[in-house]
């Protein structure tokens, strides 16, 4: 494949951001879930080998701080970018996402002959993004409440502490489920992607995948109508299939 075939998708900032989230998230999951499921042998083993429960809590909290900073930066840069630098608010959910979702389910069930035609981010990506972003904010706030219960109860009722605990612990499980099932499937195990979607690490994506997954954006980049991109893509696909056969 030549360089022409590659399309720049993510800036260095986004690549770095993903690395930070990936690492902090993993550490938080390991140190957090082993506290949630503390009676499991694996959790015990982990906690003892990380130097005991006190160290695990320290690691969890300070990693949480990095996570908080990264999340805040993400939100702030997003707001600034959209407000002052004319970034496309490409993550905003609109009506089309709902119709895309219905369309795609119909496609899976064989009631449509092609998948939903998506822009820069598909409805699945948007769903994951907002789920994780809101979840992260919940995690950060409930985590802080649990870290400083004495200070928090000076202003808020005492019940906020056990509520923050159930919130933190349940939301953690939810985010973990979304990431472990959905994100890992979509970026590693999905048969179209396997073994790994390198996009977020290299910052580029092949034109072919763009045509398949983000035809609207590709059409905007290449200044062509979407139909042309789609028909060209289907042509090559048919061609490839016949070659295989």
């Amino acid at each position: 494949m030549s360089d022409n075939n590659k399309i720049r998708r993510f800036s260095a900032f986004r690549i770095a951001e993903h690395w930070v989230f990936m690492i902090t998230f993993s550490i938080l999951v390991i140190t957090g879930l082993s506290q949630k499921f503390y009676s499991l042998d694996l959790s015990m083993w982990l906690i003892f080998h990380l130097g005991g429960i006190d160290y695990v809590r320290l690691i969890h909290r300070y990693t949480g701080i990095i996570f908080l900073i990264a999340t805040s930066m993400h939100v702030i840069t997003g707001i600034i970018g959209i407000a002052f630098r004319r970034w496309q608010p490409s993550m905003v959910i609109n009506k089309k996402d709902f119709s895309d979702a219905v369309h795609n389910i119909k496609y899976y069930l064989g009631m449509e002959d092609h998948p939903a035609i998506c822009d820069r981010y598909g409805y699945r990506q948007k769903f994951e993004y907002w789920g994780v972003l809101i979840g992260s904010i919940i995690m950060v706030f409930s985590g802080l409440i649990l870290w400083f219960p004495v200070s928090v109860t000076r202003f808020l009722p005492g019940e906020i502490i056990p509520a923050a605990k159930v919130l933190h612990t349940n939301q953690a499980l939810l985010i973990f489920a979304v990431i472990a099932l959905w994100h890992i499937y979509n970026s590693i195990f999905s048969p179209e992607i396997f073994p790994l979607d390198k996009g977020i690490f290299t910052g580029t994506i092949s034109r072919e995948r763009m045509a398949l997954e983000h035809p609207v954006e590709l059409a905007r980049i290449e200044n062509k109508p979407v139909e042309e991109i789609l028909s060209a893509h289907r042509e090559t696909e048919r061609h490839e299939n016949s070659e295989v056969n």
């Binding site: 015990m44 003892f48 069930l109 699945r124 004495v150 009722p157 005492g158 919130l167």
Partner: protein, 479 residues
């Protein structure tokens, strides 16, 4: 020589009596004089009255006299004032005086030196010299006297009580005194009633009675407590791990020995009446006892005779009592409380929840505690103090929260919280759901959040999995 001959004679006579003539015991050759005296004195009804009004029977059991060691003696051999037709009227002030006087007859044959040679008598003779009389007949009897070693006692206890049933005493080097008088009824009521005296007092028997000297009564008690381990070795080894033994080995002789808690001749089973246990501990731990007696547990024990409540040993154990101020002890406190409070058969009838232990263990403090415990056990890692049951509820002074105004409970709880969470605000205790599972009524926020996730998380997970399955299925169909 004369003495030995006499002994041989007596021995021979006894053997003859036992072996040859058991059936004809009544026909032992007793002296004519004795037969003559028995003519009257073998009949009941004769009395001797003393000046102070006391009286004794002048009756002699002919059978017993015939079987006695002195059966061949004439009556006047001992009753020297009487002989043949001589039967003087004598006056005595009291029974005691009569006994002393009569016993002097013994010394004509059994000299003081002979008597002193037996250790058991030495002390009595010494006392006699200082004016305190010990008539021989007190222990040996009179007309039925037998050589001590061959006396047919039913059991050893009766043998020992022959002397120890009387007012005996011993004195220690430091001047302390101890009564050696035993009460048979007391012995019979103890758990050791089937044992013989020498089972515990080894070294003592009907032929041996060593003279021992102890510095003090305390030394005597400690030495005697060593006896118990001959049978109760398991308890003895446990005791060696106790704080009492540690104190003892550091030279504190007041640390309790077996007999201090269990008593000696009156040793009982404690199990039947549990308040006895607490009362034993009170002997030294009076302050704690008072506090305990006013606690919810102590009141139930003493006022209601409730046998379910814990007494001292249920938490502290009975023999291997550990120092309760150690971290190790502290970390085991939830276990101690859970013995009853996690056991439905014990606490349910009082309307108490058995969730209290589980709710503690699954909360922040409980989880941290179990980790600290394991870390210390497995890696010898030092641990910080973490709140256990007693930090909120108190130890010996536990009171019921039900009978107390919730506002007071909360106000007290803040104080407890502040021991660790220094700046805790007044509503900080609400962070703890008081061992209750969250419900809409007692913790609405917690309940609602939990409920939302209970519904939302499975829907989300199933949705995602369905999407994935559909995606894979479509991909497979497309190929």
């Amino acid at each position: 020589m004369k003495g030995r001959k006499k002994i041989i004679f007596v021995l021979a006579a006894f053997l003859w009596m036992c072996v040859v003539l058991p059936a004809q015991a009544g026909d032992v050759d007793i002296s004519d004089e004795a037969q003559k005296c028995l003519g009257c004195h073998a009949k009941h009804g004769l009395m001797k009255t003393f000046e102070n009004g006391d009286s004794i029977k002048a009756y002699v059991d002919a059978e017993k006299f015939r079987a006695s060691a002195h059966n061949s003696l004439r009556c006047s051999g001992c009753h020297t004032d009487f002989a043949g037709d001589k039967h003087p009227k004598r006056r005595f002030r009291s029974k005691e005086q009569y006994k002393i006087k009569a016993s002097l007859a013994c010394r004509t044959c059994h000299t003081c030196d002979q008597i002193r040679a037996r250790s058991i008598h030495a002390k009595l003779l010494n006392e006699e010299e200082s004016g305190k009389a010990h008539p021989c007949t007190n222990c040996h009897g009179s007309h039925a006297v037998m050589p001590v070693g061959r006396k047919a006692y039913k059991n050893e206890k009766q043998y020992c009580l022959k002397c120890h049933g009387y007012k005996l005493g011993m004195e220690f080097k430091n001047g302390e005194k101890l009564s050696l008088k035993m009460d048979l009824a007391l012995l019979q009521s103890s758990v050791h009633k089937k044992l013989s005296c020498s089972d515990c007092h080894f070294g003592f028997s009907n032929s041996q009675h060593p003279q021992r000297n102890f510095k003090s009564l305390r030394n005597f008690s400690i030495a005697n407590s060593e006896i118990c381990r001959r049978c109760h070795f398991d308890k003895y080894t446990k005791t060696m791990e106790s704080i009492h033994y540690t104190m003892f080995s550091q030279g504190n002789l007041n640390a309790p020995a077996c007999t201090d808690c269990h008593g000696s001749h009156s040793v009982l089973h404690f199990g039947k009446e549990r308040k006895l246990i607490a009362q034993r501990c009170r002997k030294c731990h009076a302050g704690v006892y008072e506090i305990y007696a006013n606690s919810v547990h102590g009141k139930a024990l003493f006022d209601e005779h409730n046998q379910d409540v814990p007494v001292c040993i249920d938490c502290h154990t009975a023999h291997d009592i550990k120092n309760p101020l150690t971290l190790d002890y502290r970390e085991r406190i939830p276990d101690m409380c859970s013995k009853c409070h996690a056991n439905k058969s014990v606490v349910s009838k009082y309307g108490l929840s058995t969730d209290v232990v589980e709710t503690y263990l699954s909360d922040f403090h409980g989880v941290t505690l179990s980790f600290y415990r394991k870390q210390r056990e497995e890696f010898n890692k030092p641990a910080r103090l973490i709140a256990v049951c007693t930090d909120c509820h108190g130890t010996h002074n536990i009171i019921s929260t039900r009978s107390t105004d919730p506002a007071i409970v909360k106000a007290n709880l803040v104080k407890r919280c502040r021991q660790c969470h220094k700046d805790a605000a007044k509503n900080f205790p609400d962070a703890w759901l008081s061992h209750y599972e969250p419900t809409l009524a007692n913790a609405p926020l917690v309940f609602i959040v939990t409920l939302i996730y209970k519904i939302f998380t499975p829907i989300m997970a199933i949705g995602i999995i369905l999407q994935i399955i559909l995606h894979i299925w479509r991909y497979a169909v497309n190929r």
